[in-house]
């Protein structure tokens, strides 16, 4: 993405953002609340529109609306803070909906693959329950399986553990670390510094709608170059 600007009314939430992510790279976006990191994540599959600049995925410019955009979104997995599992469908149906309706897979193929994915994220036994019967951590892992079922080129995680009990954060992070190890291209907005250290290739620090710093995790956590990042880290790492 280059030269991206976005306003919410008067508020300039993304200011001249340039960011390029390589295939297989894991980029963790951190920063204080209101810094624009979630918005940045949501612009990548155009859940938020942008006013200026351009975003390309795999050489293809992000289409404006309609079928082309839907096609592109199918290639971009997204995991939300509040899970957003389809409340009226079973866990299995949540995972198979996209493959059946968008990828036009047969129901049997989609279900076979869905069960594999649910096993992989450790919730295979819950396949026939509805989302409300699952814990938050389980729901979020189902959400990850739902995104993976589309065989995405890139996965976006918008604060995937922020709505979870501390005990459940790890089970979700482990799945994400596994994905990162397997070479998935990932953009992760999070407050989990441990994950950033462990799995990120690059840390992007945002504040006030700008990218303040972009470096490797080692460098960012041990020797941040900007005062704003130093200040932020001193506040969160001291306890």
């Amino acid at each position: 993405m280059s030269g991206v600007d976005k306003w919410f009314g008067e508020l300039h939430v993304l200011q001249d953002i340039d960011l390029s992510i390589d295939r297989g790279e894991v980029v963790v976006v951190i920063g204080p609340s209101g810094s624009g990191k979630s918005t940045l994540c949501r612009t990548i599959n155009r859940l938020e529109s942008i006013e200026n600049g351009e975003i390309t995925i795999d050489g293809q410019q992000l289409p404006a609306e309609g079928k082309e955009l839907a096609k592109l979104r199918a290639d971009v997995g997204m995991v939300f803070q509040s899970f957003n599992l389809f409340a009226h469908k079973t866990v299995l149906e949540n995972v198979t909906l996209g493959p059946i309706k968008v990828r036009k897979q047969s129901k049997a193929d989609a279900e076979k693959r869905a069960r594999e994915l649910l096993d992989r994220v450790g919730v295979g036994a819950q396949a026939d329950k509805v989302p409300a019967q699952l814990s938050g951590g389980q729901q979020q892992r189902v959400a990850i399986a739902r995104a993976l079922a589309m065989d995405p080129k890139v996965m976006l995680f918008d604060e995937p553990t922020s709505a979870l009990d501390p005990e459940m954060i790890n089970e979700v992070l482990e799945v994400m670390v596994g994905l990162a190890r397997d070479g998935m291209t990932m953009v992760v907005v999070t407050h989990e510094m441990g994950f950033a250290r462990k799995a990120a290739n690059r840390v992007v620090f945002m504040d006030g709608g700008r990218i303040v710093e972009s470096s490797t995790p080692e460098e960012f956590f041990t020797n941040p170059s900007s005062d704003r990042a130093k200040d932020f880290l001193s506040k969160i790492l001291n306890h």
Partner: protein, 215 residues
């Protein structure tokens, strides 16, 4: 009692007319009203405008006037419909506006995250509405839709004024001819309406419990 037995065939015919009028108008209202609600939330401004115009027009016109328009107004532009068909159209088109508003309130009650998640896996607007949003919206609007249905069944009585021999028309006819049996005639007609609305109310609460979703 003998009076009722003698006139049973007439009352039964009238009941069946009210029932078929209600069912046909109900299907029309449900299908059209749902489509209007989908238009109302669509990303295409002309569709939204069209739907708003429709709803405000029909919702704010007395049903009797809608009947006049369809049964006596349409022939003026060389488009005649029979009394029964005209009544189905009048009641159905009118009720669609209320169905639209009920369904729309259900759509608004589905959290925005549900639609975002469905768009994020690549569903188009129409697919997301069909697969994710509407099924959840309908579940929460079963009670208000039930109200609309019951009100509509009773609204079919206006067809009595337009040469359709339904329950209210039979009431007028029987009570004119048998003034002494007026109360009996009234009770018979009320029972006729209740035979439709009371089982409906029961079915609605059954459906409501069946489709309730855990959140």
């Amino acid at each position: 009692m003998q009076f009722l037995i003698d006139n049973f065939p007439l009352l039964w015919d009238a009941f069946l007319t009210t029932l078929s009028l209600s069912l046909l108008a109900g299907v029309l209202a449900l299908v059209l009203g749902t489509a209007l609600a989908a238009f109302r939330v669509s990303p295409i401004p002309p569709l939204r405008g069209l739907s708003t115009f429709y709803v405000e027009t029909f919702r704010n016109t007395p049903l009797t006037v809608v009947f006049f328009f369809i049964i006596f107004g349409l022939p003026q532009i060389d488009f005649s419909v029979g009394f029964f068909t005209g009544s189905v159209l009048a009641v159905g088109l009118y009720t669609a506006a209320f169905v639209c508003e009920a369904v729309r309130s259900g759509i608004n009650a589905v959290s925005a995250g549900q639609a975002e998640a469905s768009r994020a896996i690549g569903l188009t607007f129409g697919q997301s509405l069909r697969e994710v949003v509407l099924p959840q919206a309908f579940r929460s609007v079963v009670p208000p839709l039930g109200n609309v249905w019951i009100a509509m069944v009773k609204n079919t009585s206006i067809a009595a004024g337009f040469a359709v021999s339904e329950l209210t028309a039979s009431m007028q006819r029987l009570s004119n001819a048998n003034a002494g049996e007026l109360v009996l005639v009234l009770v018979a007609v009320v029972v006729g309406y209740m035979l439709i609305t009371l089982p409906s109310a029961y079915a609605i609460s059954r459906v409501e419990r069946r489709v309730a979703i855990l959140r």
